[in-house]
Amino acid sequence: MTIVPLPFDPPDTTLIRRFLKGDERAFRELYERHTPRLKMTVRRLLGRLGPDVDDVVQDTWLAGCRGIQSYRGDAKFSSWLTSIAARTVYAQLSRRNGRETDLRDDVADVNVGAPASSVDLERALAALPDHQRVVVVLHDVEGFTHEEIAEQLGMATGTSKATLSRARHRLRHMLTKGVTNAER
């Protein structure tokens, strides 16, 4: 089989086309290009580290590849992947609904009194209730619109807006008073 070299930094659409023709190198390049960011997003959506992150990333890629024919190229491939990840995470979080308060025990507290850092913000995000964290991450970190979030998570646009509002209030509170104190 003749090995055709990949062009320098080929666009996603080229890699996808070649992947669909069975080119493993093209998929590997696609994976290595998008997974670092996807993994960070999944970790943030889940609100914790752990094997769940790798599982969700893997499930996201598998779901993406199985449905890649539906990717029309009108949105960034990374956004398309993130949408799949968001749905996967949200479904997983919904399944374990009611256990989310337990997770906050794993989250270290914010350094109260000291200027807040991105680490504090990360902790505060992790301490948010699952549905609030998902919405705030998708909207304020990933830049999705409420319409897009609503479509991805199967909720009303107004619900997304209201959830974001509550999440921002809670975040601000946690960043100033600490995660533990904010709960009181």
């Binding site: 080119d23 670092p36 200027p115 960043l175």
Partner: protein, 176 residues
């Protein structure tokens, strides 16, 4: 994508926006991560080797079939009205048989002529052999009276003893 910050959500202050902008966007991959996904995808039927060998094989087989069909057709067309083919047929009409006899006789004469031409320079008796062959054919025609006595008269005319002297001008003999 754009943030369509809504009316109900509070706005972040500058410090909060800075914190968001400072959030890490990527995390490094762990070893073998891609391999695990690729392994799963292979299980789903992705990355099957799509060599073109089968296409080449198919094309070669098709070429052989086309060639064989062409050769068979050509052979059939060539044999359909051949002398040999007609000779093997038993259902010819009288007209076809006359035609066959004419063609066979012409071919016979041509063969004798080409034999004489081809061997004249190495075999001085070739012309004589050819003439005798021709004579034999004429006798056969005469014996069977296939030409209403014409060949009998011709064979008489062609008898060596009766042939006009060599010095006399040679007259062409029309066979068929």
């Amino acid at each position: 994508m754009r943030n369509d910050d809504d009316d109900v959500a509070i706005e972040y202050d500058d410090d909060e926006r800075r914190l968001f902008s400072e959030l890490p966007r990527e995390v490094s991959l762990s070893a073998g991560e891609a391999d695990r996904v690729i392994h799963r995808l292979k299980g789903d039927g992705f990355f099957r080797p799509r060599t073109k060998k089968w296409r080449w094989g198919l094309a070669a087989a098709a070429a052989v079939v086309v060639f064989a069909a062409g050769a068979a057709t050509g052979r059939f067309v060539a044999r359909r009205d051949s002398l040999e083919d007609m000779l093997t047929q038993s259902n010819l009409s009288v007209g076809d048989r006359v035609l066959l006899l004419q063609r066979a006789g012409t071919a016979y004469v041509q063969a004798a002529q080409t034999y004489a031409d081809a061997t004249a320079h190495i075999d001085s008796g070739a012309v004589e052999v050819a003439s005798k062959v021709l004579m034999g054919a004429a006798h056969a025609v005469a014996r069977n009276s296939l030409d209403a006595g014409l060949s009998a008269r011709l064979t008489t005319a062609l008898q060596p003893s009766l042939v006009t002297p060599v010095s006399a001008p040679r007259r062409p003999v029309i066979w068929y």
